[in-house]
Symmetry: C2
Subunit: 146 residues, 2 copies
DNA sequence: CTAGTTGCAAAGAGTTTGCATGGCG
DNA sequence: CGCCATGCAAACTCTTTGCAACTAG
């Protein structure tokens, strides 16, 4: 089922680069530039390599909604991104890290009650940050315009 | 900043259709078919309408990673999708609803500790379901075992 | 040597935009 | 009547695929 893979300089370089930047998400274009020195040179190969790497547990493909493209991030061993959530405000778009306080309890609950082993590093929580929620409430209460 | 909007039959029909199917996510193509009777007829207008609707709190754009396209869902008033999480297995791709048991506690924690008002209906939890986790563990152990 | 990998160009899918016409207010 | 909305086609972006040359094992 799984195809045999050769160890090639290209894919190794890509993986190394991603592993050296554990908390960063890169676009295919950025990675192509980083590895090949040019954003266009061999981009199809970079896409193929990224697809291959995404089949493993080491690299994960995310979606950048705003830009309408994919982002790639190292999420393998020695990476702490799995231990905390990220929360993104639907209004202002800001992303913030969430310390492990309640996250661990929630993760434990999911696992104990549902057998679901959540991967915080790959989960984005959506909602409204304090400021935007306040603004939304004010507008809703004001009913100035709808 | 916000542009003036006319009440038009087209956008109203779209919103009505979405509102009548509160737990469903539709592609632009499906919506075009549902509203215009044809998947191609006036699709650019449908895209424009969906973008307009997505600027409100009533409709939200999601991403269908597998199909590489956007999905649209009604998430406004009278919609219960905000009250529970969905968990998606990174391995088998299955999506399951998660009852409110621990979700409510987690949501409350987020709000109390971080002022972040989470929107469950717009958040997807990623991880491994029980079966896939067991399989993954077996394979990982297999390296040392077999 | 054989099968996987690379690189370029071209195709492909989904979405957006230009422009003239139609419709709401 | 002004301005927004519509509809078609063309353009655009990101990603994938075809094919010949290359390379790891």
């Amino acid at each position: 089922m799984t195809k045999k893979r050769y160890h090639t300089k290209g894919r190794e370089a890509l993986l190394s680069y991603l592993r050296e930047h554990p908390d960063c998400q890169f676009s295919a274009e950025e990675l192509c530039l980083a590895v090949n020195g040019e954003a266009e040179k061999g981009k199809s190969t970079v896409y193929r390599q990224l697809n291959q790497l995404s089949e493993t547990y080491a690299v994960r493909r995310f979606r950048d909604e705003e830009a309408g493209r994919n982002l790639y991030q190292y999420v393998g061993e020695g990476c702490d991104c799995r231990l905390h959530f990220h929360e993104k405000c639907l209004q202002c778009g800001r992303i913030e890290h969430l310390d492990c306080q309640g996250s661990a309890a929630f993760a434990a609950h999911l696992r104990a009650e549902h057998g679901f082993v959540i991967d915080c590093g790959q989960t984005m929580l959506y909602g409204l940050c304090a400021e935007c929620y306040a603004t939304a409430e004010r507008e809703r209460g004001g009913q100035a315009h709808a």
